[in-house]
């Protein structure tokens, strides 16, 4: 069975600094996608970034980038130039080719950006 693990329950960062959130996963599949979702205090979950397992190039979306290490089954999220609006719960998620679209989530990391 696939599992997703986020080992940092809470993190904090100063505004304008860079922070990295960790995620590891376990799967026997070769075809899969990984995602980072953000849940601000208002609770609406939104997609931050996604990465295809077959792509070696790390995904980037503006200030958000990932470090995807397929062999190590690691998928970390880097937030550059942190802003107060980045304060949220961040969830790492996995969907495999044999899972019919089912998203499997990690435990979440609560990020606080301090002024």
């Amino acid at each position: 069975a696939q599992t997703v693990t986020q080992s940092q329950p809470e993190m904090s960062v100063q505004e304008a600094e860079t922070v990295t959130l960790s995620c590891t996963y376990d799967t026997s599949e070769n075809n899969y996608y990984l995602f980072w979702y953000k849940q601000p205090p208002s609770r609406q979950m939104i997609l931050v970034i996604r990465q295809e397992a077959y792509k070696q190039q790390n995904a980037t979306e503006n200030r958000f980038s990932v470090n995807f290490q397929k062999a190590a089954k690691s998928f970390s999220l880097k937030i550059s130039d942190s802003q107060l609006g980045d304060t949220a719960m961040y969830f790492c998620a996995f969907v495999g080719g044999n899972q019919g679209g089912k998203l499997i989530f990690g435990q979440g990391t609560e990020l606080s950006v301090k002024p």
Partner: protein
């Protein structure tokens, strides 16, 4: 503007009551999901539906059932509510057929069982 709407943001129910949580999406998505969110445990999948009248159990289906009579609506039913079902419930939907498809979430329903 795409939307997943959950019928209630807050609910308080009594132990033993039958509880219905409703979710509606307007994106013509085939997949719909019910997750339960608890601190330190993340989101755990309760049930998943990939088409009308089709469903699959997730990781924690015990004490829950679902109904999907129409494509846009996915209902979660707590047959006999218990205090350990006090939690945040999130509904989501996505397109089928592509692994990279984004899931869209509702605002969540905070259920308290007393």
């Amino acid at each position: 503007d795409v939307k997943v709407t959950q019928s209630s943001r807050y609910l308080v129910k009594r132990t033993g009551e039958k509880v219905f949580l409703e979710c509606v999406q307007d994106m013509d998505h085939e997949n719909m999901f019910w997750y339960r969110q608890d601190p330190g445990l993340g989101l755990r999948l309760i049930y998943f539906s990939y088409d009308v009248k089709m469903k699959e159990k997730g990781d924690i289906p015990e004490g829950y059932s679902v109904s999907r009579e129409k494509k846009e609506r996915f209902s979660l039913i707590l047959e006999s509510a218990s205090t350990n079902q006090t939690s945040m419930y999130l509904c989501a939907s996505s397109l089928t057929g592509r692994l990279n498809t984004e899931a869209f979430f509702g605002q969540g329903t905070r259920l308290t069982v007393v």
